[in-house]
């Protein structure tokens, strides 16, 4: 049985790397006794499939992990209790919100997700300065950047990857973020735009404060959905009305 978990990464634990978090999950599977399937071979590893890596020091309200559970042992796993149970074996700040069974034919998170939304603190500007900077940026037809690919500089245009950009209304800024906050939807496909690239393309470049991924989105055939909606009960994606 394949399940998809949605979890948060908030607070001090944001300073751990993607690799660190992967190791924390592995230990959590062992301490919790979750019957997880393993790869074959000399060094068996639990079968877990991450979505898009989150940069070290970025927070997230919407991270995903797909797990293959052993069958038939998975029958005895209480999916409703799983989020709280497994969160107890993970570091403070990593909390599983919801879980659902997915079909093995479901495309991987890395393939499926087309964009992410972000909240980015910009502590060095006033809200008016930031609004003006965003207006200028959004009005640009192209945003040329040079990025390194296989050790060689390659010219690229960042503009198509910026799906949406605005300054959050102060009343909409979460209590634990401060100052003017950018709200951005950045594409992850065909090529990914990182928050740091967005900040660098401003003129002059902006300095980011706290960066928080809010949602991961799948847009196909003109419709947009999340890999697993927040608070979805533990059921299949089909019965949750997602597919």
């Amino acid at each position: 049985m394949r399940i998809r978990l949605r979890y948060r990464k908030l607070g001090k634990v944001r300073f751990t790397s993607h690799r660190d978090v992967a190791r924390c999950w592995e230990r959590a599977f062992r301490t919790s006794g979750l019957p997880i399937a393993s790869t074959e071979g000399f060094s068996p590893r639990p079968k877990m499939h991450f979505g898009l890596a989150l940069s070290t020091s970025h927070e997230s309200l919407g991270e995903y992990l797909d797990l293959d559970l052993l069958d038939p042992e998975s029958d005895s796993v209480d999916l409703d209790a799983l989020p709280a149970m497994l969160s107890g074996h993970l570091p403070d700040g990593i909390d599983i919100e919801t879980v659902a069974v997915i079909d093995r034919s479901e495309p991987s998170l890395q393939e499926a997700v087309t964009s992410c939304t972000w909240q980015i603190e910009v502590p060095t500007l006033t809200i008016d300065q930031l609004r003006a900077a965003v207006d200028r940026l959004v009005a640009s037809d192209t945003l040329p950047i040079v990025r390194e690919r296989k050790g060689k500089p390659v010219s690229d245009d960042l503009r198509p990857g910026i799906v949406h950009l605005e300054v959050l209304d102060p009343t909409a800024v979460p209590a634990d973020l401060a100052g003017p906050v950018l709200y951005a939807e950045l594409a992850t496909s065909p090529r990914s735009v990182r928050p740091s690239e967005l900040m660098a393309v401003f003129d002059p470049p902006l300095i980011e404060g706290r960066v928080r991924r809010i949602r991961q989105l799948i847009t196909e055939n003109g419709a947009t959905r999340e890999p697993l909606p927040p608070g979805a009960p533990s059921m299949t994606l089909a019965t949750a009305g997602v597919i």
Binding site: R23, R27, G209
Partner: protein, 649 residues
């Protein structure tokens, strides 16, 4: 309480590996500080990745936090990127547990395991906002303490440390807590620092350097005087009688980020009586105290269940010597049963087929490489250092390794040993070549890596009188070995930088005058000296010259029997005449057997403290010939109990 966290947090997204500074490990504590509790900050003067796994600090962290009158937190050396930001923003060094300012602790205690970390100690004290010299501190500052193997010669750091602990820390931290608790209850009155230090100096195992004064005649150290009648003339180390009384760590810390030795560690015994003459650890941690097998089993089972690690290391100085090691290992592997597969690691594999046999039982999966430490290239040289491994032992071990599926073998050697000749150095190449030959019978591309370290004589070993090889001599020997192995297919040679070896030597046997050198190197930016990319010999040589000290005199000179050694007022329990005799035996190429299975030769470690070896089995382990005496039927193993033979140095 989050202390300095709000100030530290914005800096962390600007530094490398910020997870080093967040704490939050499994098993980490959030102790509640209170005026009636003595606050310890336990520090390792290197990066988090190297310091976190230190078992000594973890043991004391738990023991202190269990006490109603103490709290303990931890800190590590911030990498220079964070250090620069801390200094720029005026933020002091902090604990990783509650991010409390280091200066807000009563005792700031360092584990000293390597000489090249000494400048980091000064840097951390300075980052805490505490004067680096003990004489400049007032009653409002924390007491700066140190423990660990390097403290058997604390003299280079004497001017910077308020107190030094010799030996096992499990019991003495309680006594120190009580003394400091009394001082704290008394209001830590200004000017009262001498009083608390005098009281601490009366705790057995505690050395207060400021209460002792070295006496020089010209360049020579001629004595160490006490400054007060109340302090002991000889400071004895502390030894816990029975490891079974201390089943720590009970909650080994599980870091969120990768560190060295990232696995469960269970100490199976402390001390070693193999008697390798170069090995300070083996000399200063005597006698052997084994942990009962039942306790080892439950610590392994509980630890694996709690931590989620899939690897456990059974630690000691020579784990294959643990009584009933085979049964223990079988039990551990069986207990894992059909659960997730568990890897059991023995960090110190004995050089014989027996050792490999155990390894075969343990490592079902990964058979990438096995490591052995023959330490020297010829039988003659191994007799000098009392590492009584015959060539046959090594070859049988290597044969067993390759025939059981391993493809890489790593061999550890020392160079610059007493009486070493070029023949001994070339013997290393010869051994490596023969090991590759053995491997060819089993695998297409056998690989043998030879790792060579320059020998640094250490206090309280029979080699403490030996003049260390110069950088040029060590480099010449390394080159000799490199040239000899250049055309040997399958043999790779790696070596430790002889320049670093020289600096280690200066501090290993340095006296109090070396302290000024450490301070100068630190002030000139010489931190993280054990990191290749940061090490700079010229910083050290310039500082030696600036203070009128001769590196040659400190490192390359043979000491005489009558010379006063800088650590003569300290005791690791070993009789000095035992060490001197063992030094003479070394020069005569005479071995000394392991006293676990042969009569006592009175080194002093047991008799002096009325304790004894705790070994579950009266018979030596099967197989092997390393001084255990079990293979003495092979008449040519020249082990003698004592030799009075006089050999000129």
């Amino acid at each position: 309480m989050n202390g300095l966290w709000p100030q530290i947090e914005p800096l962390l997204s600007r530094v490398s590996k910020p997870a080093r500074y967040i704490g939050m490990e499994g098993g980490a504590q959030q102790p509640q500080h209170a005026p009636d509790k003595v606050a310890w900050l336990l520090a390792y003067p290197d990066t988090y990745e190297i310091g976190l796994p230190n078992q000594g600090l973890q043991i004391l962290y738990e023991i202190l936090n269990e006490r109603p009158d103490a709290v303990a937190e931890r800190t590590y050396a911030p990498w220079h990127d964070l250090e620069e930001l801390l200094r720029e923003h005026g933020i002091p060094l902090f604990s990783v547990d509650t991010h409390r300012s280091a200066a807000d602790f009563d005792i700031f205690g360092f584990n000293l395991s390597a000489e090249l970390t000494y400048t980091n100690l000064l840097n951390m004290v300075d980052l805490a906002g505490v004067p680096v010299r003990a004489a400049d501190r007032t009653a409002s500052h924390p007491l700066i303490a140190a423990g660990g193997h390097c403290t058997y010669n604390p003299e280079p750091l004497a001017d910077f440390l308020d107190l030094v602990v010799l030996g096992d820390g499990e019991e003495v931290v309680a006594e120190i807590t009580e003394v400091v608790g009394g001082w704290k209850a008394d209001g830590r009155r200004l000017g009262d620092r001498t009083g608390v230090l005098r009281a601490l100096a009366q705790v057995e195992g505690v050395y207060v350097p400021s209460m002792y004064r070295p006496v020089y005649s010209g360049v020579d150290l001629v004595g160490i005087e006490t400054c007060s009648r109340e302090v002991p003339e000889l400071v004895e180390k502390r030894t816990i009688a029975d490891l079974a009384d201390f089943p720590y760590p009970k909650q080994q810390l599980v870091p969120l980020t990768e560190v060295v030795h990232d696995r469960l560690n269970v100490e199976v015994f402390r001390g070693c009586t193999r008697g390798c003459r170069f090995c300070q650890a083996g000399m200063i941690t005597r006698p052997v105290r084994e942990r009962p097998a039942e306790q080892v089993r439950s610590m392994v089972a509980d630890g694996l269940r709690r931590t989620g690690y899939d690897e456990v290391s059974l630690t000691s100085l020579s784990t294959a010597d643990y009584s009933g090691i085979e049964a223990l290992v079988t039990d551990i592997v069986d207990a894992a049963g059909d659960g997730p597969s568990i890897t059991v690691a023995l960090p110190s594999l004995r050089v014989d087929a027996f050792g490999v046999g155990i390894a075969t039982q343990l490592q079902h999966a990964r058979r990438a490489g096995l490591t052995f430490a023959p330490e020297a290239g010829t039988w003659r040289m191994r007799q000098v250092i009392n590492k009584l491994i015959r060539e046959e032992d090594l070859y049988s071990a290597v044969e067993a390794a390759f025939s059981n599926g391993w493809r890489r073998v790593k061999l550890y050697f020392l160079t610059g040993l007493p009486t070493e000749t070029d023949e001994d150095t070339l013997g290393i190449a010869e051994l490596a070549r023969n090991c590759v030959e053995i491997g060819r019978a089993h695998t297409r591309n056998p690989s043998v890596t030879v790792s060579v370290g320059g020998f640094v004589p250490k206090p309280f070993t029979p080699f403490q009188w030996f003049g260390q090889n110069t950088v040029e001599e060590l480099q010449r020997k390394i080159n000799l070995l490199r040239d000899a192995t250049r055309r040997m297919h399958g043999v790779q040679v790696k070596w430790h930088d002889p320049k670093a070896t020289q600096v280690e030597g200066i501090m290993s046997r340095g006296d109090r005058r070396v302290g000024a050198v450490i301070e100068t190197v630190w002030r000139n930016g010489g931190t993280f000296q054990e990191w290749n990319e940061r090490f700079d010999l010229s910083l050290w040589l310039d500082a030696m010259a600036e203070h009128g000290l001769d590196p040659d005199w400190y490192t390359h000179r043979h000491r005489t029997e009558t010379e006063v050694l800088p650590w003569d007022h300290l005791s690791a329990g070993l009789h000095k005449d035992f060490l001197w005799q063992d030094w003479r035996d070394a020069l005569a190429e005479v071995g000394l057997p392991d006293c676990r299975w042969t009569p006592c030769y009175d080194c002093g470690a047991c008799t002096g403290y009325s304790i004894e070896h705790i070994v579950a089995s009266a018979t030596p382990p099967a197989g092997g010939s390393q001084g255990t005496g079990q293979d003495l039927s092979s008449t040519w193993v020249p082990v003698s109990i004592r030799s009075a033979e006089d050999v000129p140095v």
